[in-house]
Amino acid sequence: MTTLSAIELGRPAVRRQSLWRYWRGGLRGSEFTWALAFLVPYIGVFLAFVVYPVCYGLWMGSEPKLYTDVFSDPIYQQTVVNTLVFVAFGVNLKLFLALMLSGFFMRPGWWTKGLLLLFVLPWAVPALPSFISIHWMLNGEWGFLNNALYILFGVEGPSWLNSRWLALGSAVYSHVWKWLPFWTVILLAGRMSIPQDIYDAAKVDGATGLRRFAHVTFPLLANLYLVLTLLATIFLLGDFNSVYFVTGGGPANSTHLLATLGVRDAFDLANPRLGVAVVMSALPLLIPLVIILMRRLKQSEVQL
């Protein structure tokens, strides 16, 4: 037996030991047992409250006939259009305004900070009372808005919640009102993280005002803006409160989103499987968005 072959013989033992140590995360003896003891409850909670509900939902919505029922429902077809309109306007309006407002809140001065404090209030207050209040404010006959219009200008306002597009518009408005502060603060943080040196260099090159925004701020915020757009789209696809409490899905079921229609099918029609199927039908849109989001999150370099 040569020396070389002895080394070769010893190799598998070394490999086994390394693999075992790798699985134990480099922990030895009782450390590994304690680590397991601390990990098990978390895994239990994760299985019980994440894995199980998701699998249960997938199982509930797994029957193909459910989708035949869902797709043949005329309310569903209208709901898909509503959801796309809601996402398109809700996300873009909200993020564009947030981008602009974050620039405004970058201005120095105590009053800007005071205004920012007031501005974040809608986000800080609980969603449900806010949306229920908006529902009442928009009541055509005795709501605050139309009464204010009548008292101030002698004008009878429209019945905001009586037509599909006005009602859906009201829901978009409510959503933007509620969530605009949140996204503004995130973009404000994004703007604040841009080093002043870059702005100074741009100033030396003659870039001020809009050119500074176009050539410095926006390129540096673009990745963040895109990630926020994807995140906001994912959040909004699951939004329930803005429509459920402002329009109730009405008039005549014409302003439902997938989330509210799912709840309506699950509980009003007492058919939870159908409700799950409605919500599941958003997955073909949702999964690619999540994949794109994950990929974008890996990118960190920006070319100015």
Partner: protein
Amino acid sequence: MAIHTRRTVLRRSLGLAAAGALARPHVANAAATTAEVWWTQGFAQEEDVAFKKLVADYEKASGNKIEDSIIPFAPLRQKEVSAITSGVVPDVMEYGDFSFLPLNAWADKLVDVSDIVEPQKSQYIDTALRATHCYNNITKKRDFYAVPMKAAGIPFHIWNSLVEKAGFKVSDIPNTWDAFLDFFMPVQDKLRAQGTRNVYAYGYQLTANGVDPAITFQGFLMAYGGKNLVTPDGKLHTDDPQVKDAAVKAIAKLTTPFKKGYVPPGVVNWNDADDNNAFHAKLIVMDFDGSLSTEVALYKKKEEYNDIVTRGMPLGNDGKEVPSPMPIFGALIPKGAQNVTVAKEFLKYAIEPNVLNEYLKGGLGRWALPLPEVAKNDPFWFKQDPHRTAYSEETLVHPTEPLYEAYNPAMADVSAEHVFSIAMLDVMNNGMTPEQAIDKAFKRAETIFAKYPIQQA
């Protein structure tokens, strides 16, 4: 400070597990005399207090324990649907809407409670029995799947002060259907002429939300002779010309005032409580809404309480009595309940005539007592309060009909989809004629009914 070593932690954990295992039989024994009950929260606090008293009295009388949860109507419905779907159910549920019982009886998800209802059958109003005698699609027969406890007639609620302000008297209101309803349009005109902005004649629920619109439509349908849209054998009669004529007239009578501005435009998106709110704010002169909840909510504001006039159904245009649709609420035992014995004992106790009477009286009489002879012998129902008198007469003396859902659960789907509300909205918003809207609604109803074939009446 105690030092916890790995061994002590493991030993103590094992000790706790062993103690738990040894204690299980005692826990199981306690469970054998305990029932979990889910109940609907009342509109007035007195209703919840009355239920708590019922539970306490039962516990005292039986030695059993009731773990009760009082939950608002909408969350309770969601909780009940979830419980039935997951199979993790309480022992007793009160059902707060009229779809839950027929749909789950059809799907064989409920325990047959005929042994509780049968002994007391002779005392019940017939409508209460028909409303809870539901079809099971597995056994292919009807049985009692709920214990009837509360009857809810659909009275008209009228503000006397608004009628008088307009220069009329409540005693002037005619007692035939069309004339009765038409009375309120000039009331609105006069009030508007006096400068009252945003007051409307009617608070009809012409919306596709909640349960009220379906009851409203059934009330109007029966007033025009369309009672047989669904017959007790569960059959749909959309091909009956009399039914179709009545349905068209009902839709026209409900939507024409809307188009003329006698109903708040916002009704198309109201929920169940909005007509009550509008009525309490004196923004509508008359409302057609189930139970005495409208009056009971103002029970402590005596001036307003006494200003409301409660009226039962007027006569039909032909001078004959018009039946009132009458939802019946009660309690049921879901299959999978852990303690059916105690659940049945509790329900048997709850519907003892004196017990049920005291319970509903404690709730200010919002729900009528479905035991007519007991009610007639108690001045509370027919003599002490004008609202209760009118309500008791409507529910217990004059003709009533259960909601169609009791005859065929397909109607539960029709109501949940708001098929007839959509018909009204088609007329009000989409320019359809009542005939076109009813043709469309009937077609949809036929499709839904085809999914629920009842093989044996």
